[in-house]
């Protein structure tokens, strides 16, 4: 169930240039699953006004804590990055439908492809896949080394490749370039990142089962305002889906990319 909760900041640190990792404590953690997101009110004042959608990156149910990783670039995320341990944050969540962990079976291999601030939700996904005995390969794209993060964390869980636009870390180029070279063997892929990346992946692995997490500007985050519409491919039951409540994760082939 979707709930609104004032959660407490347990930790906040800058883990890469303008990239913050924040851990929040509260009850709604119990209902979270990988690929879902929360809608965060960064200030109790009326400006910035709208909530910010941020993916769930790490869930720790026993501690009632979850972690987000976000880029403090615009006005709202900058305000968020100024919160201190002990401050309260108004969180609406968990929202949307996440990555289907159940679609990968024990012993199979899952390819996880992330780009920039699309990388965070893949971490919890990888944790849960590994927990059920799915092997994971991580291919993570960033602009430069400066803004890359979580190398240690991902490496612990499986084979991990970094790709940067300028080659400052790992492979130079696009994640799809690396994938072409690597030609990994896998049963299913999950991805979150910029649209061009998702598009390239979807056409590259047309034959494979795959799940893609999309982004759009949001109003309500719960399906009421029709802000985050995405048209579907021919032959789907509905003409459109709402990214916030039908997604943000869709099976490849459902939405027009």
């Amino acid at each position: 169930m979707i709930r609104q909760e004032r959660m407490t900041v347990v930790s906040q640190r800058e883990i890469a240039k303008d990239i913050f990792e924040m851990t929040l404590q509260g009850q709604i953690v119990q209902e979270m699953s990988p690929g879902q997101f929360v809608h965060i009110r960064v200030s109790d004042l009326l400006e910035p006004l709208l909530r910010r959608p941020i993916s769930i990156a790490n869930i720790q149910k026993e501690a009632e804590e979850f972690t987000i990783i976000y880029r403090a670039q615009g006005r709202g995320t900058k305000v968020l990055s100024q919160k201190q341990v002990g401050d309260e944050v108004d969180v609406l969540g968990p929202l949307g439908n996440g990555f289907p962990v159940e679609e990968a079976r024990e012993g199979e291999t899952a390819l996880l492809v992330g780009g920039g601030i699309g990388v965070p939700p893949l971490y919890e996904l990888s944790k849960q896949l590994n927990a059920k005995g799915v092997r994971t390969i991580h291919v993570l794209g960033f602009q430069t080394e400066e803004v890359a993060f979580y190398e240690e964390e991902f490496t612990k869980l499986g084979e991990t490749y970094y790709v940067t636009d300028d080659g400052s870390k790992g492979f130079k180029g696009f994640v799809t370039d690396l994938l072409n070279e690597l030609n990994p063997d896998f049963n299913i892929f999950y991805s979150c990142g910029p649209l061009p990346m998702l598009r390239a992946l979807a056409s590259m692995y047309e034959e494979k089962k795959g799940y893609l997490s999309l982004e759009e500007r949001m109003g309500c985050g719960i399906g009421a305002c029709f802000a985050c519409i995405c048209k579907t491919e021919e032959g789907q039951e509905k003409d459109y889906v709402k990214i916030c409540s039908d997604g943000p994760v869709f099976e490849k082939g459902v939405v027009k990319l």
Binding site: R41, L49, L50, R217, C220, A224, C225, F226, A227, C228
Partner: protein, 303 residues
């Protein structure tokens, strides 16, 4: 004693608080959060004859204490609203106000004729003020003669009272209000959004795919309040006020200026529980103001 009930043409409101059209869908999402029977009424999303997919995305953008939207009247169309959405809403003890939109007068008439027969639709809200569609919408809302004629035509077919939703994008809001009153409107709802724009910081291009969008939220409250105040003095039909309501004090403000009830739009997105929270907070506010029934507040700015 119910200190909050309000009677308006066609509407027996338990309390004067309702979600504004387009900010609450057809209620399904919020029904997962709280009991919709708590609301005074529900203004459902604009309905047109045919289903509409609306404008391309991005459709929303943030502005200082406000937001822009250019949804473009996306809705499943009259048939589906009649067959699925309205019957589903019957499970709640709450009157529905159907927001009626179209491209031509015939569209409005057709939607009004049909939707006004739904058992839980207690009033219509003629949307002559949507700034986000190329045809119809706002053009009906900025010309008093066209507006009056449209109201007359819709009144002729509607089975329930007709409220007209005014656009703030006009030189003279009083003239528009008087025109729809003459046309036979049973009430006025105001205000719809103000035409605005946001640019992408890097490219300088409009953020909203439709170039401009409708501005709503707390930023517009002073304008909405002024317009309600002016219209209250000039017409004899009741006003449902809206535009930037974000707390119980804002409700008092709109009713003081002359609104008989209010609608909450944008703030549902920021605080999904805002309507029930405001309803719960009203009695204590009335105590603070030394008022027995909320009716006593209506129009007090003018006394």
């Amino acid at each position: 004693m119910n200190r909050l009930d309000i009677q308006l043409p066609g509407l027996q409101l338990k309390n004067p608080i309702m979600p504004a059209s387009g900010c609450f869908g057809f209620g399904r999402e919020y029904a997962g959060l709280y009991d919709l029977s708590k609301l005074g009424a529900i203004m459902i999303k604009a309905t047109t004859v045919e289903p509409r997919l609306g404008n391309p995305t991005p459709r929303v953008a943030e502005t200082p204490a406000g937001m822009l939207n250019a949804i473009g009247l996306q809705n499943p169309g009259l048939e589906k609203v009649m067959a699925e959405e309205l019957p589903w809403l019957e499970r709640f003890d709450v009157p529905i106000i159907a927001n009626v939109a179209g491209t031509t007068p015939e569209d409005y008439v057709e939607v009004a004729r049909r939707i006004s027969t739904a058992p839980n639709v207690k009033a219509l809200e003629l949307n002559i003020s949507c700034p986000n569609v190329k045809q119809g919408g706002i053009t009906f809302g900025t010309d008093p003669v066209i507006a009056r004629e449209l109201v007359e035509q819709v009144k002729a077919v509607s089975q329930v009272p007709v409220y007209v939703k005014l656009s703030p994008n006009v030189t003279n809001i009083v003239e528009m209000a008087q025109a729809v009153e003459i046309g036979g409107a049973d009430g006025i709802t105001m205000i719809n959004t103000l035409l605005g724009m946001r640019l992408d910081e890097k490219t300088g291009k409009p953020v909203i795919a439709n170039v401009t969008g409708g501005l709503s939220g707390p930023a517009v409250k002073p304008i909405a309040l002024r317009m309600v105040y002016e219209v209250y003095k000039a017409v004899d039909i009741p006003i449902i006020g809206m535009g930037g309501i974000s707390c119980v004090q804002d409700v008092i403000d709109f009713m003081s200026a002359g609104a008989s009830a209010v609608a909450v739009g944008t703030m549902n997105f920021i605080d999904p529980f805002i309507c029930p929270n405001i309803i719960d907070a009203l009695p204590a506010k009335l105590d603070e103001l030394g008022v027995k029934h909320i009716k006593e507040i209506i129009g007090r700015s003018h006394r």
